[in-house]
Point group: D2
Chain length 446, copies 4
């Protein structure tokens, strides 16, 4: 099966130098990344979240760029069939391919690795701007929704209902753009927006090359940005958010929560106005108790004040956030800060620098309670980040296969808390999509 | 509770003469109709389909028009709360109020009763045009979906899935705009359209003053037209349709099917290209068998050729209709007929003239098999129409309360067939929304 | 030469009944009017202002409507060539043809002659609304420009410069839509609007069937409305105006000034906020002195207070009007009146009723100073209106040819003043376009 | 006088790093360039074309950027008054300021000097793309108009008439965006476009920092791009052009013509489809004879075949170009080349590399007929380029003041031809705007 896609979007205006950057002939590394990202967005509706499995399955998939007088055509060999309806590609997926090209070209051409905090933040800004994902003259309305890609049917319906209530109130949705808690709020909001005749509705998906295959963007996402790594993706989340909802999830959700708390605990962010709500259906009440306990015991009671827990009440979640928007607006205004990008949020170096979850790096994490809370949050974040990699990322899975599970070391009492939490994730089926038995990619050494 | 709605839409441009037409002071009859229609569109989400019950419940509801420099404001006293989110009216419902005003003013000012076939058709056209519901330069894509307002959860999900598949294929939806099978396809299509980035999506709702309270338009409907009576509403359905789907339903759905078959059986419509599909989930297979049998035994085998039955396959329904669109286009082109309005469809006098379901008129229907098929279809249509009135329409319910059930007379064999069919509707809970025991508003005298 | 125009605009959506109304076969009278109006808008750039000459010249011109699946095509036989560029019709002119059809259908279908003041005003409103010429949510910005169709090059340049200054200030232009002072302001404003990036610029042309051939709408006019007669045209002018400029002109301009003053002198209009400026280049200073003198001597000093004269200063004209707009807004708001239509302006019966300039009616005008000022203004208006008819209108020219010039009778002193003024118009070449010697169509009997 | 401009356009989305680049505190050189360009676009309507005079006159002019929550505000101290209407800045000029910021930031951040031909072309492309000046899905329609900034009234009217005829045919205009022959075609086209209801009309202005003060962009220009130097500006002209008109002009126009011929004479461009027309009113017939003679005697008869001369016939100019557009389209298509950017046009190194008109460089030009035609064209181009600099550019004027006129040396016969041509430019007043006596900035040493 071979398909040619007509040029639209960014593909209308590529220079020859740029097309060359994405050709198989140019650089194996760059081309492979490009091919894999395109494959990932085509593979939406996939029933596995193992990146390596996906890449293995579609070995005969290929993508080529062909110059034409009205722009560049894309030729796909053996693409996944789920991306097509009666032979035509779903427009949303078509657009996602352009986003891949746009962002990879940006990364290849305009991104040079730097350790400078200002430059890193500028780069996150520049990529969002380049993707037209920074709306001007718009009051705060962007709700970032985090939560598991593998959740129960009841939890999924709940995320839809929350999305519907947000949509009815004119709020927009940003997620990691995969299935589960990343898809439900967008679907619900679509119906809410339709009833309110909101046509400039935004379904912002933020992803990165190593996670995109495991969490392919659902086609409702109408603004897709592929940041270069998980740390820039996280920075993009918190700087575009006007409010954050955390639904039940597994290791990835824990990573996000720890990242967020680590930042909000910074003294400079004391006065930041960023409402955070943990929510789920009645049945997830215990889950949140466990999470709160873990947070309290590791980051202290102060951390509990950074968020609110609402159980089983979608309307209250939406109303609470809606009512917080004028305060967010007021705060930004008082700081002379933009509404579309939270420049004043302080993000320390340890949260910006990419963490490479090698076995060595994972083993060397400082997992002891006896240290500064922010540094602890940073290393806990890294630990969960590594577990996500071992669970679903291509590189991570291959490493685990080669070297066995990650070894986590640290203070016994902390190790026990982590073990309990991780064990709960496993039992509740939050680590991986259903369909196979989960084998942990880590060992908690108490 | 008192709410003022800002002028937008048609309310921006009313002349003083027109405002007067809608004031309580002007004419009791006109004002009452106006008030009741506004109440009906506000009452979406209602759990009853009894118009009289609704009107009785909201006796303290009132609506006034107030002149302002930028147009006419609407003042609502004691409106139903379900129309509001955090104190603001849902935009979709706001728009529906304008549609009520636009169409009632049209009916009051520009509609004079006529028996002339051409004039009646011109009026249906003129109302749709006045409502901007006739898109030009658009290829055929409007699928009319009929079916019950009271259906099972499984059937409802099925109508959503069909709508989703239609939406993915760029098809639009027209329904009677109430709950159940009138709402599901629009909800599903909304998600399908979002994935295909279709922004000029049309969710056309066609209703009439006497049914609007029992079947309040759901707020997804983005083009609402209130035709003056059920016959013009039916004509609007079949002249705007490029394809028709009939989901399971009760007396109203039977009325629609008989109206459609009565027209399609006319010799002049022999070559008309108008695909009709009866469809439902696996569990409704028996229901369709019964319907087909009734049709065959009353209107003959020829009538069975006018539609196709597809059970349990939403994708096939959508693909079949999608593939028929070029044929519809070709046919219209060959006749020099418009794509947006089927002028060439022949509709006989007996299907155009309003039928008033008084006890006398119902008793006088000619329900015998021994007559022209079209005339039989017309009288059968009237019989079911009357039952709908007795079930859910304000006037009908009050008449039944006063005079007892309608008496249907006719040829014994036909009477038995009707009784069987109606009995099935009752048993399957299709006559009324769940929540109360159904007492038939008719007696079939065998 | 035969040309077919594709359906667009109103032609996309005509019913068969409506098409029939405009066919040659239907009614000689209606078809002739339709044909002549279409010919008139095609004949822009014509060098004569004699309607009868134009109609005589294009006797082989014909227009037909042809039904097609996507709407109605127009077929033109032997149209004037100036309407075409390289074989294609100029889009502005194409649109004007649709305006003709839209408005004639309105007049044929929805306009029944009435003497009721409210109904007449409602009809003017209804025609403007039907033409989408009533913008909502827009602050006052419409400047009506009156003035001669036959003016000097210096005067023409001056009207362009005034238009440019108005355009730079975001003001829109409404004129009688012919050449000379009706075209210049629009051309100038086009450049001003372009520099200010104003894209919703309005160039409103108000005309009527008997004048349209003598003053064909220039293609810059992007909203053309053909009112049924001169009196409704004048009412449309004053009710849509937020400010009025009067450039030098002849009998038609005098008619407009007298109509305006007759209305503004009404006690009910005492507080009306409607700025009026008479303006022209330095060289027209004397012209305005004469006009002022005539006004003072006939309508009294009070009438002089209703307008301001500015000579040779386009920027001051524009700034004066721009600064008056907030006052107009304030006044309308204080009255609860619409911004887009001046409902509260009182227009007496004698200014609304159509005046038919037969020789008898002209001879019977009461031209004496010894009467109510408003009645005098009304009859003076009629006298000048008749002279316009005798100069350029088809019917008028033919009547004059048949019966000789109109005989105007009245009080000697008034007769002398009129004679002086008319004589000046003749000498300054304001009665007719240059190219022939002007023979007066009237005799002033002193 | 101090004015603050609200953020719109690019100013809504600047990062702090970018704002710093344009602050006075950052770099004297960059800030000065920024300030001068802003001053230049504000100074439209200026009566001098001496850049140094302008900069000297507005020494107290200052521009600052101020961060605000909705973007960056611009603060102007003592701006030229002609940019304002009743205290508000003209929107077109407001936009031009954004273009300055956008393009200078591009040059500062993303432009590194290179000698690589492909990279230079990519950079020209990238700047046009970044300015949204490359329309996709549009058939060829961009006519580049070259010609003098100082031309006679008759010539100016002629350029307007040509622009009007181009506009009527849906063609767009690109010029160097100053006064004279750069403004007339845009003004004329504005009227033509208005009559054709063309709303996506493009008035593309291409300039560069050293010429922008002498030729300030007129506010009709709705796409302004400031290329880094004259060579990239010329490349932008010829790669975006689908047709080229050359009106009478002086040294700058001669530079453009020689640049164009030098390129078109390249063997690789033999088959290029790029219509070129030299045109002017009847009175300029002699001027074109002189030009043709100079071309023939220097570049040979072959060069005469690269263009057509049309005298006194605006309609023919427009029709000729309109009819050539399908051929341009066909050619691009046959080459798989974009319509919006002529990638296949070969531009040799000597036409791409910036020429710095120092006295030394001017003296060293190889002005002898005895060499390759393309090299001769390149050096002749440089000679005229230097004269433009000496006439109107800030740097050039100051150099001439310091070191006296440029000394041009070369083969006697060529020197004589140049002298004749230059002398004619002087006599016809084409070197400088009227108002002062012209002192040549060059000496032709025969």
């Amino acid at each position: 099966m071979q398909v040619q896609l007509n040029p639209t979007g960014v593909l209308n205006l590529l220079s020859k130098l740029e097309v060359d950057l994405l050709q198989a002939s140019s650089s194996t590394e760059r081309y492979k990344l490009f091919r894999n990202c395109v494959l990932a967005v085509l593979n939406v509706g996939s029933h596995t979240d193992s990146s390596s499995e996906i890449y293995d399955k579609y070995q005969d998939f290929d993508v080529k760029l062909i110059s034409r007088e009205r722009g560049i055509k894309i030729e796909l060999d053996n693409p996944p069939e789920t991306a097509f309806v009666d032979g035509g590609i779903i427009t949303g997926i078509h657009e996602h391919i352009f986003s891949v090209i746009r962002d990879l070209l940006f990364i290849y051409q305009r991104h040079e690795p730097t350790e400078d905090e200002l430059q890193i933040t500028h780069m996150v800004f520049d990529m969002l701007r380049n993707a037209s994902a920074l709306p001007v003259n718009t009051d705060p309305n962007m709700i970032v929704c985090w939560g598991g890609h593998s959740i129960s049917e009841i939890e999924y319906k709940y995320t839809k209902e929350v999305g519907y209530q947000l949509g009815l109130r004119g709020l927009n949705i940003c997620t990691g753009c995969g299935p589960g808690a990343m898809k439900g709020p967008m679907k619900g909001a679509t119906i809410g927006h339709a009833k309110q005749r909101i046509t400039n509705n935004r379904y912002l998906g933020l992803t990165e090359p190593s996670i995109i295959a495991a969490e392919p963007p659902n086609p409702i996402v109408n603004e897709l940005v592929i940041l270069p790594d998980i740390e820039k993706r996280l920075e993009a989340f918190v700087r575009t958010a006007h409010g954050i909802i955390i639904f039940p999830g597994g290791a990835g959700t824990a990573e996000e929560l720890l990242y967020l708390l680590g930042i909000l605990l910074h003294p400079d962010n004391q006065k930041q106005c960023l409402p955070v709500i943990l929510t789920g259906p009645e049945s997830s009440a215990d889950y949140f108790k466990e999470i709160c306990q873990f947070v309290e015991e590791t980051l202290g009671e102060e951390a509990l004040n950074k968020f609110e827990v609402i159980v089983g009440d979608p309307q209250k979640v939406a109303t609470t956030l809606k009512q917080a928007m004028p305060k967010v607006r007021e705060y930004r205004k008082s700081q002379g800060d933009a509404y579309y990008f939270n420049w004043t949020l302080k993000i320390e170096h340890q949260f910006q620098m990419p963490f490479d979850p090698t076995h060595e790096n994972m083993a060397n994490l400082n997992l002891s309670l006896n240290q500064n809370k922010e540094l602890l949050a940073a290393d806990l974040r890294r630990a969960f980040s590594g577990i996500v990699a071992g669970n679903v990322k291509d590189e991570g899975i291959r490493e685990i296969k080669k070297h066995g599970p990650y070894q986590l070391h640290g203070e016994t009492s902390l190790m026990e808390k982590m073990d309990t939490l991780l064990q709960a994730f496993v039992e509740q089926g939050r680590m991986k999509l259903p369909g196979s038995k989960y084998t942990p990619c880590y060992v908690v050494n108490k």
